[in-house]
């Protein structure tokens, strides 16, 4: 079997992979972009609602329009694009990666100097959150329901309950309503919605769709097709409270209960993951702890804005294309329980740029909060936030000098709510 050589290989042609491959190509690297679906664009292909690109392009684009801004650049680049191609296995040889790729033309072997995982994320399923009852037709994740509706033009429901107030669930509540289906309500086990505030307002309030917090679906009923769900209130530990059950007739349960970064391929070559993000541990260039292996986009951590996904791909693409490979001198970045997570989890003491961009989410809703970064007891940075919500990711550029990063103590992130003055 012949072996093809590339400087940079990107797995996944969603927004992260598109940005990564175009950036690597622009930097002069011989770049391959591998996509398992028939067309590039990733999940954006089915996101026909608007709101994409506000940060990057200053306009409200639909998902396919946003993707097109990148896809349209491919023909004028030297990026080699393989669609309907599936990475089946990866081996490591020194710092090179050897990929086995399944395509309709046969099996191809790729040797690549740098490898970028832009593999996106998948949806949590009904089983992972413990929905019980009969295994009937009519239980869909929101993304799958979105595929049926927007790609196939087929409605998966006429009257549904949506469990989980993640962004896709909110968007599907509106989308299904517009198509004439009845959304009985959106139910959220947590006391606050999981999606962006703008989505709660534009997708639910504008369409008079009720949102019930601290309630969950405990069981589904039906034979061949779902006919009803059981709803129950939950206590602060998210356990259903006996006696609060209520049966709601409907033909579908649509789930928007979280996204999980897809990292099974990365794990297969031993890329260490962060248990908080479920994505790879990376430095500020999105390089994982394995040299020459990068991660970006939702595979790295689940973003709420595609603009940041593209940025993350560009960072990985530029770093992967640079040939230079000096010692990184990694300093650990840690956060306590006041933050859900922090990315990157390492920063390089030897980086040229002094500006580092961190992404984080607060662990709970906070008004008037102070973020501090300390190292070995020394305060390096602090910033006040008037409002923080876990569903809204914060992008935080911080200037850090080599002197500040001296020593092996970790950088510690901490959030504290200040008293109202």
């Amino acid at each position: 079997m012949e072996e093809l050589q590339f400087d940079v290989t990107v797995i996944g042609a969603g927004p992260a992979g598109l940005a990564a491959s175009l950036t690597a190509d622009k930097a002069g690297a011989k770049t391959l972009l591998i996509e398992r679906e028939t067309r590039p664009g990733g999940i954006l292909k089915q996101c026909i609602h608007d709101g994409f690109g506000l940060v990057r392009f200053g306009e409200k684009l639909s998902g396919p329009e946003y993707a097109a801004r990148f896809i349209d650049r491919l023909p004028n680049s030297d990026v080699t694009v393989w669609t309907l191609s599936f990475v089946s296995a990866i081996q490591r040889e020194q710092d090179d990666s050897i990929l086995t790729v399944i395509t309709r033309e046969g099996i191809r072997r790729i040797r690549t100097h740098a490898l970028i995982f832009a593999t996106g994320c998948r949806e949590r399923t009904s089983r992972q959150i413990g929905v019980h009852g009969r295994h009937c037709a009519g239980v869909f994740t929101a993304g799958t329901a979105q595929y049926y509706t927007n790609i196939l033009g087929e409605l998966p429901t006429k009257r549904c309950v949506i469990l989980g107030s993640g962004d896709i669930g909110l968007i599907m509540a509106r989308r299904l309503t517009l198509e004439g289906a009845q959304v009985v309500g959106v139910y959220e086990a947590k006391p606050t919605p999981s999606g962006l505030t703008r989505n709660v307002s534009q997708c639910l309030w504008d369409f008079e769709i009720p949102l019930h917090t601290s309630k969950t679906v405990t069981r589904v009923f039906g034979d061949a097709r779902l006919t009803a769900v059981e709803i129950a209130s939950v206590d602060p530990c998210m356990c259903p409270i006996a006696g609060t059950e209520e049966i709601i007739p409907c033909d579908a349960l649509i789930l928007s209960v979280g996204l999980i970064p897809e990292n099974e391929l990365a794990e297969s070559i031993g890329v260490p993951l962060d248990s908080k993000t479920k994505g790879a541990v990376v430095d500020e260039r999105n390089e994982t702890l394995l040299r020459g292996v990068f991660a970006c986009g939702n595979a790295l951590h689940v973003n709420d804005l595609v603009d940041y996904v593209s940025e993350s791909g560009e960072i990985a693409g530029a770093a992967a294309a640079s040939k230079e490979k000096k010692c990184r001198g990694l300093v650990p970045v840690e956060c306590d329980q006041s933050l859900l997570y922090i990315v990157p989890q390492r920063i390089s003491r030897n980086a040229e740029m002094q500006e580092r961009v961190f992404f984080f989410r607060s662990a709970k809703d906070m008004d008037n909060a102070m973020l501090t970064i300390t190292k070995g007891g020394n305060l390096l940075f602090s910033k006040r936030f008037s409002h923080l919500r876990p569903p809204e990711m914060e992008r935080l550029p911080v200037l850090l000098t080599p002197e500040q990063l001296f020593g092996n103590e970790p950088l510690r992130f901490h959030l504290e709510e200040l008293d109202h003055e």
């Binding site: 309709r104 046969g106 099996i107 399923t125 089983r127 037709a137 087929e154 069981r219 033909d251």
Partner: protein
Amino acid sequence: MSYCKRINQTLFARFGGRVTAREQDRVLYLEGELDRWDDVVAAGLLAVNHKKYDGLVNDIRFTGGEIPPMRLPKVTDTVLDGAAPDVLVIGGGIVGCAIARECAKYDVRILLVEKEHDIAMQTTSRNDGMVHPGVDLIPGQVKRHYNRRGNRMYDEICKQLDVPFRRSGQYICFRGKKLAFAAFFGQLYYKLIGPRVTYLRKKAFFQREPNMNPAISAALFFPDAGVVSPYGLAIAYAENAADNGVQVSLDTAVLNMTVSEGVITSVRTNRGTIYPKVVINAAGVFAEEIAKLAQDRFFSIHPRKGTNTILDHKASKRMHTIVSSFGTSSTKKRHTKGGGLVKTIDDNTLVGPDAVETYQKEDFTTAPENVAFVFDAQRKTDTALNIRDAITYFSGVRAATYEEDFVIRKGKWTKNIVHAAGIQSPGLTAAPAIAVDVSRMAAELLSKSRIVRSNESFNPIRTGVIRASELDLPARDALIRENPDYGEIVCRCEEISRGEIKDALHRSIPCDTIDGVKRRVRPGMGRCQGGFCGPLVLQIIAEETGKELQQIDKSAPGGELLMGAIKEVMP
């Protein structure tokens, strides 16, 4: 005092005259009324005596709930009207399919009817896939006999039917010094009466299964245990049967029979009336109902539900074969040989099952308490077992008799029926052997009216669906170059290609549902549970069968996934 009288006294003491027993023609009948199902079952278990009677019929009326009627197919037509097969097999589970295939070795016309939309839809698909060595079976039991014979047949039958089978062995683990001692003596017991066994001290066990509970002090290893896909094997049996001329009619339920002078003369179904010469009862949880229609009811089925959980491949790397602990619910309950932790043929860890008596024969719902119970029990084997690693869970219902034994025999009163009833664990292991005997009994019955010869053209070999990802790279590459569909991955979790899915749709047993494809070639069995591949499989089924997208069912008619076009594309 007669046994019946004594039993009546015992029943009186327990149920205060609400239940009585009477015997007739070597069958013990229980009558009366009880409002708790557990009491109905308890009365049966109290009265049963397999030495004195051919069977126990429990006619105690249950007043505490409504026993749901058998789910019936939606279709009604006359396609089978007037059919006159030599052998009618009722039931398309592992037992019925194996019997149909073995019957095809004779020159007889065979019709298999299954009320569900596909083969292996009920207990067979809700099974832990263990091929049992027969650890806790007692000499004299019918099931022990068939388990031993069936176990020995597995290598060959799986080779013939092209079904993956791994004889990976089973550990039964013991905790603490006292139990290690017991294990040592247990080994001597098995050396006397079988199955084959090896005693492993702590160190030897942990060399083989290093991630199990450190409190384990010794283990017995039974090398004859193995794992197989239960539905995979049933479908393979059915396909090979169909390849050899067996007619398989799905969505076909037996509704009634006419019996005259001890002979079944006709069998009414929702698809017409059939006039078989011999009837085989392999109806699983409904075997008692079939026996009743055939006027040959001398046993009762008390359904027993069990729940299994499947773990992600990643979490499944912790163990290599079947590991159970002595004293967990699954080994303690005498009549349910739950596997404990089973590394399935598809390399997932299966956790389960439990055993709960139920009056609902088709209650396949799951409940969190059952899953939690099983996890708690199995943590004795692996303390790190985490419910968060579960990718799915499912329930099945065992068709237990009160004798807790199989009923493999010709009819007691009716002359042209053979029962393969009361099949619960180890029914999967026993099925190949049961099928050989039952087909022979059917041939014997037929030979009273005609000469039964062997079928000279019988072909025992079935070619399964190619599993492309299991080929070596050059062979896989060559396959793709011959047929590019094998190079298009549809299910990324399990790495299943379009070629494999198309193959599954065009075999001798028709398949046109998402779950049918899933059980044949595994798209949707992985960690995303069909979130990504479901819509793609749906489109492939529509393309290949010529149906509209909205007509495609998840599992059975009435289970359509889509409900109509969106507004923009309406005409």
